[in-house]
């Protein structure tokens, strides 16, 4: 065995494994999209002109945008205390972030069902204290989907924002205070702008994750607010239309690739390699 071959023996197996199990099959899916049911780009034309599919794409973008804004706002609040609080506050925040993070997406979506359903915690409680007489419809609609997705994505937004807050130079803040800026002004004029790259990075991560969601919308949307990923699932397994499902997958992949390229360009995540 020559010296040159040795590195390839180490990183080769994983690359080969992913080529065979992921890359080549993805090319196969792309092939489906232009050959099923008949050869041509008909499925792509359908995917961008069918009013139903367009409305699902628009709904997906709307939900993802709302979820991204809510998650970022919530993550900023919790990351702030996690980074700058007293040791006790830091520990409490860390536990509140880690517990949901390690619990599966199914259990968390189910938790929202248990909370929001007609005989669930919120409706039972509101009826007991007499605010409402009939249960509110809080789940199996877009409201439930937005809550469930935001809940899932907050921890993912916290990590990049907290890392931006940690790497901020404390002396800049002290200088601002020393020159007479109020605490509020120091926060808005110095702290927020300096942590903005982290916010931007977190925003793109959350948006990309949200685009591909289908478990949470399927459980909390109850078939009424279908998002693009769930539509792909339905097209493959309920009304077998593999060509269209494959074409929508390729389109989704292209959108995600575009967003990630944007992130690499502007938010510049730190390289993992030294």
């Amino acid at each position: 065995m020559s010296e040159r071959m040795k590195p390839a023996l180490l990183f080769g197996p994983l690359v080969l494994f992913l080529c065979l199990a992921y890359f080549v099959p993805f090319l196969g899916v792309m092939q489906w999209s232009v050959t099923l049911p008949e050869p041509g780009v008909g499925q792509y034309v359908k995917a961008v002109s069918d009013p139903l599919i367009i409305s699902v794409f628009i709904r997906t973008f709307r939900i993802c945008l709302i979820v991204t804004i809510l998650s970022i706002a919530a993550a900023y609040c919790i990351a702030y205390i996690w980074v700058r609080g007293t040791p006790m506050q830091r520990l409490a925040m860390e536990i509140c972030i880690l517990i949901p993070f390690w619990i599966s997406i199914l259990t968390r979506a189910f938790g929202w069902v248990a909370l929001l359903t007609n005989r669930g915690l919120i409706n039972t409680w509101l009826q007991q204290i007499g605010i409402i007489s009939e249960p509110l419809t809080l789940v199996r609609n877009e409201f439930g989907v937005v809550l469930g997705m935001t809940h899932f994505l907050i921890p993912f937004a916290v990590f990049p924002i907290a890392s931006a807050m940690r790497s901020l130079d404390e002396r800049v803040l002290m200088a601002a205070r020393g020159m007479g800026a109020t605490r509020l002004r120091t926060f808005w004029a110095i702290f927020v702008p300096m942590t903005l790259p982290g916010v931007l990075g977190a925003g793109i991560i959350v948006f990309v994750f949200a685009l591909g969601f289908f478990i949470t919308p399927a459980i909390l949307g109850g078939g009424r607010s279908v998002m693009i990923a769930e539509l792909i699932y339905l097209r493959l397994f309920q009304s077998p239309d593999w060509g269209l499902g494959a074409a929508m997958s390729v389109i989704l992949m292209l959108i995600v690739a575009g967003l990630l390229a944007l992130m690499m360009r502007y938010a510049r995540p730190k390289s993992m390699l030294r």
Binding site: Y22, F26, V29, I99, T107, W112, A114, I219, L260
Partner: protein, 267 residues
Amino acid sequence: MSKPTPVAVILASLVALFLLLPLIAVIPVSFTPTRFLAMPSGEWSLRHYQALLDNPAWLQSIWLSIRIGILSSVISTTLALMFSLGIWMFRPWFANILLGFVLLPMVAPPVVSAITLYFFLIGLSKVNDLVGYDTWIGVAVAHAVMIAPFAVVLITVALSQVDRRIDLAARGFGAGIRTRIFKVILPNIRFGILTALFLSFVLSWEEIGVTLFVTSVNAITLPRMMWMGLRDNIDPAIAAISVVLIAIVIAVILAKTVVTAMLSRKG
């Protein structure tokens, strides 16, 4: 800036409450005496916990998920370890391209990975019965694809903290590649490898997106079993199993917090 203001603390506490609320809501629901999902009114019952033990399908799906988790975490961690070692030791000029390629399954939308792995496994099913669509080994292989990028990230981060000079010293004294890996590098990143194994197992244990696409009636993992109970008429047994899963996570996190606190006090 000094201590956070009360407003900031209140806002963060509200978010923390929002994060914990759905997990808390599951607890009372799991003790309902009714056959449908409801808050228990007055009487509490353990019947849904009993149902978990009585129905062999639950225990079978747990055992299946454990087997799949072990196989897929071993496959993905081994491949990821070799890959990361190769990149770290030899630093080829195309390292970034390779890294981008192996991280693909992590950044691609889960539904796209799912349809891709579905394509892969039905292809394999045509040539053998052991590894393919709706078999437990097939599911483990699909999970390994999804999990490998996470293992690569963890091990690469662990390697980035190793002092290169100890490897150079070993090499200078004439150690071969095998000695460098097993006697010098691996002992230094053993904690990172264990973390990767553990995270891989957890990710496989709770994987549902891909599993939904590559299984139908035979390979029913625990998440797949929960999914079936969640779709139409929600079975309160889901609440009981959720409470069990949440309790495990809380116990592990609290144990880790206590151990970390004790270690830091000692050191």
